[in-house]
Amino acid sequence: MSGETFDVLIIGGGIVGAACALEAVRSGLKVCVCEKGVIGAGATAAGMGHLVVMDDSEAQFALTSRSLQLWRDLADSLPVSAEYQVSGTLWVGADDEEMAEVGRKRSFYESRNVRVEVLDPRQLSEAEPHLRSGLAGGLLVPDDAVVYSPVVAKFLIDRANDAGAVLREGVTVSAIHPHGALFVDGTTVSAGVVVNATGSWSPGLTPGIPVQRRKGHLAITDRYPGFVNHQLIELGYLKNAHAVTSDSVAFNVQPRQTGQVLIGSSRQFGVDDPAIEAPMLKWMLERAVEYMPDLTGLKIIRTWTGFRAATPDSLPLIGPVEVEDGRLWLATGHEGLGITTSLGTAELLVDQILGRQSQIPTAPYFPDRSLREDIHHG
C-alpha cells in the first residue's frame, strides 16, 4: 500500500467517516478509508441512533434538518437490519415552565416547516400509556426517526467500497499530515486531502482542536413490544445538556424494532475509563423511572458506555484547518448528534473539497471558528 496516492484519505470508519467516504467516491474522487478496529465499532455502536431535528441554534437546525432529508432519501435503500423507523420524537413537558418551552419549540419548528403537534396531558397519556400521570403535556415531531447505526455505517462503507473506495480495516494511523498518513506498522498512504474523522479520538491526531470526550451510559431491556411508541425525551434535557461543567442524566427512552426499550442517558466530562459507573447508571435509571414507573417491571439485559466528541459550542468541526505545511480536514466533534448529522456532514465536507455550493451555509461549522490554541499535526 505504501506509495499509493488517493484524492481523499479518511481516517476513522465510524458513521461519519463512512458517510464521507461514500459521498466522496460518488463525487468521482479516489478514496481510501482507514479504520483501526471494526467499521462502526466506536461511538457509532454505542449511540442511540435517534435521528432528530434540533432547535438549539440556527446552525444546529440547518444541519439536522438537512440531514433528516438525506436520511429520508436513503431510507428505501437501507437494509431491514438497519431498523430505520419513523417513530417520531415526543418531547415530554413536566410542568408549566416546560410547557412554555413546548410553545417556543412549536413556533420555532412551525416557522421552518417542520411538522409538530402539541399534546395535552390526556393526549400524552394516550400516546404513551406508561408515562406517569400528572405530566403537563408534550410536543410530537412525527417525522423524526431511529436507526441502528453500526449497520448503517457498514452499509455506507460497503457501498463506497462497491463504488471503488479502498478500505483498510484493522490499521491504526499514528500521525497525519496535509499530504498523507503514517501507520503504526510504518507504512504510509499519500493523499491530496486528509480527513480526520476519528470522533472522540480526533485530538490525538490533530492536537489543539477543541474536542473533549463526554461519556454516556445506556441500558437496553428485553423485548416488550408496544411498551413505548415514540422516542421520548424530557424537556429538562436541554437545560442539563447545556451545563457543560457538571455530570447530568436525562430521561431518554427509545422503542427498538425488536420491542426492546433503549434507556439513556448520562453525560460526563473528564472521565476516560469506559467502565460502567454504578452510581451514574443508578441515577440515570432512577430518572427514567420517575417518568415511566412501569420500567421497573422490565428486565435490562445489557448496559454499556460510549464517548461523544464534544465541542464548546455544540457544533461539529467540518472543513479545513491550516497547519504549518498545508491544510488538514476535520469531520469530527458531533457530540450527541453524529448519527443524525453524519449524512449532512459528508455533503458539507465534499462540497468544500470540490468547491461546490452547499445546500446550507458552511461557515458555522468551520473548524477555525473557535480555535483558541495552535493547531499542529502530530
Binding site: 428485553d222 423485548r223 416488550y224 425488536t258 417491571g297 428486565k299
Partner: protein
Amino acid sequence: MAEKVTILIDGTVHEVECGTTVAAAVLNAGRSLFRRSVTGAGRGPLCGMGICYECRVEIDGVLHSRSCLVPCRSGMEVRTDG
C-alpha cells in the same frame, strides 16, 4: 399422592402436581417451543437452573419469566410463543 393444581398453558387447562416447575409443566404438556429468538428461531429450556434464559415464557402477564424457576400455582396463566 401429591396435591394437584390447575394451570392454563396458552389457554388450555392442565392439571399438574403441586411443586412442578412451569418448565416441566409445559414440557409435560408435550410442548418444546417456549419462546422465539429475535430471528424467529424456536427456543426451550436448556440449563434448567435459571442461568441460560432460554426457557422464558409469559407468566400471569409478566413477560420473560424463567419457567424453570417458577413453581406452578393454581390458576396460573402461562403463555409461550409456540
